[in-house]
């Protein structure tokens, strides 16, 4: 579940690409929480979830909404597919990265110019999926608050990064069984909220779900989920 966090925030912000390593990584009350998170990840092999991304910008009265599906397979494979209002697929498998755009009625595989950056993002994702979220503390000040759910707040240590991203909030169910949403806050007051719904764990995803040349259609992924119910 936590995999969503990193994937999304990294897609949105590119944090780890910019943050400078902190000289110290002080411990705090987040340590037990991070340990529990790591433990809860152990049994998860795949995650499939619909998402809705809401971007609120001060100069727009109405938020910008996009929707899609994310599929993760341990240890390092991800498919992030946006279905509305445009269609796009990003696949990373720890070795290759591919991006497809739906243009004039057909999928168009891009010669992506930021493959190295996405690979870097993948590396950070792997840290998270491996239950090593604590290692992010070199780049972020992490605090935890608990109420109706658990909120992990990550504040970039690098002031240059904070010029664009003031904080990332990761919202978990109280029992840490699921990640419910991510909130990305910008200094301007703009924010992005990504909500995860209809989450399914440990379904056997078709291998070509993550094919970097000819990924299977999303409908087939959804069929797998339906069959698994």
């Amino acid at each position: 579940m936590k995999q969503f966090l990193l994937l999304t925030l990294l897609l949105l912000s590119g944090f780890p690409l910019q943050a400078k390593p902190a000289s110290t990584a002080p411990g705090n009350d987040a340590d037990p929480f991070l340990a529990r998170l790591a433990a809860s990840l152990g049994s998860v092999t795949t995650v499939c979830s619909e998402f809705e991304q809401e971007r609120r910008m001060a100069f727009l009265a109405d938020p910008l909404i996009s929707k899609g599906m994310i599929v993760f397979r341990k240890p390092d494979t991800v498919r992030w597919e946006t279905t509305q209002p445009y269609r796009s697929i990003l696949i990373a498998n720890g070795k290759d990265v591919a991006q497809f755009e739906w243009v004039n009625g057909a999928w168009n595989k891009l010669r992506i110019g930021y493959a190295a950056a996405i690979a870097k993002i993948m590396e950070s994702l792997t840290l998270t999926w491996s239950g090593r979220l604590a290692e992010q503390r070199k780049d972020y000040e992490i605090t935890v608050s608990k109420g109706s759910n658990v909120v992990l707040t990550m504040v970039p240590r690098d002031s240059g990064v904070r010029d664009f991203i003031s904080a990332i909030e990761l919202h978990f169910a109280k029992d840490l069984s699921t990640a419910q949403q991510i909130v990305l806050r910008e200094p301007s007051g703009d924010m992005t909220i990504i909500r995860f719904v209809n989450q399914h764990l440990n379904a056997n995803m078709p291998a070509d779900c993550f094919d970097v040349d000819h990924p299977v259609a999303l409908e087939q992924v959804r069929q797998v989920i339906r069959d698994a119910k």
């Binding site: 897609l11 949105l12 912000s13 590119g14 690409l17 910019q18 971007r55 910008m57 001060a58 100069f59 727009l60 009265a61 109405d62 910008l64 209002p85 445009y86 796009s88 991006q99 755009e101 243009v103 004039n104 168009n108 891009l110 010669r111 992506i112 110019g113 930021y114 950056a117 996405i118 240059g160 010029d163 664009f164 991203i165 910008e186 301007s188 703009d190």
Partner: protein, 250 residues
Amino acid sequence: MRSRITAAGCVGLGLALCAGGCRSTGPQLSTAQPLSHRVEAQQLVARMQQALTTAFPRNARVQHRVILTIARRQFVFNGHLTIQATGAMRLVVLGPMGRVADLVADADGKIDVKQHHPKFRERWVKRYIARDMQLLCAAPDSAQLAAARTPDGTLILEHALPDTPDVHRYTFGDNGATWEALSVYRKGRRTYHAVVEQTRQFSGWNRAMPSSLKVQAKQYQLDITIVDVRPLSVATPPDSKGASSNAVLH
């Protein structure tokens, strides 16, 4: 100024790094024949200007997806363009690293870069993103316009820019009622070419608008897909000089 789709400014990305690019010379302007009948010419100029002004509606938000190709490498951006009743515009370009650029063009065409990503220099934003936005979204002044017809019957509108060697040549279909393409010529050589590849009637609008555009510039190519066009309900106005005084979107 008029409103048409903004090419998103995705461009910034590093265009300056790119050498080479399109060297097409395109058709010579002299092949077009000026319209001889004065009344007909005036009517057609008015019709073509109207087509440019209304290609994309004012008081609207145009959300688009852009693939930027530079030196065979591709980058994807989301653009969000708001067009006010006055023609003032604001474009926010979002990329994988967050907000790439945020710029405002007031009703007189003055550009104000409100924000840009550290990796995208302000002068790139002005040179490329703002240029795309203005070429694709800003209507030419009514002065210095000339209507002409090419040998195959296509109507064109030429705008010779003062103080520059550039000539903008708009191409129209449907006897001047539909904007189809824009070419920019410098000393007779085409340096910029934008084509409306598809049109579509978006939900809530009673007419078709461009939904797919391709831009070929000297150093880069843009493939623009319009994904949503909707009326602006409420928004804070651009706070640059000129734009704010014209703002109607409080």
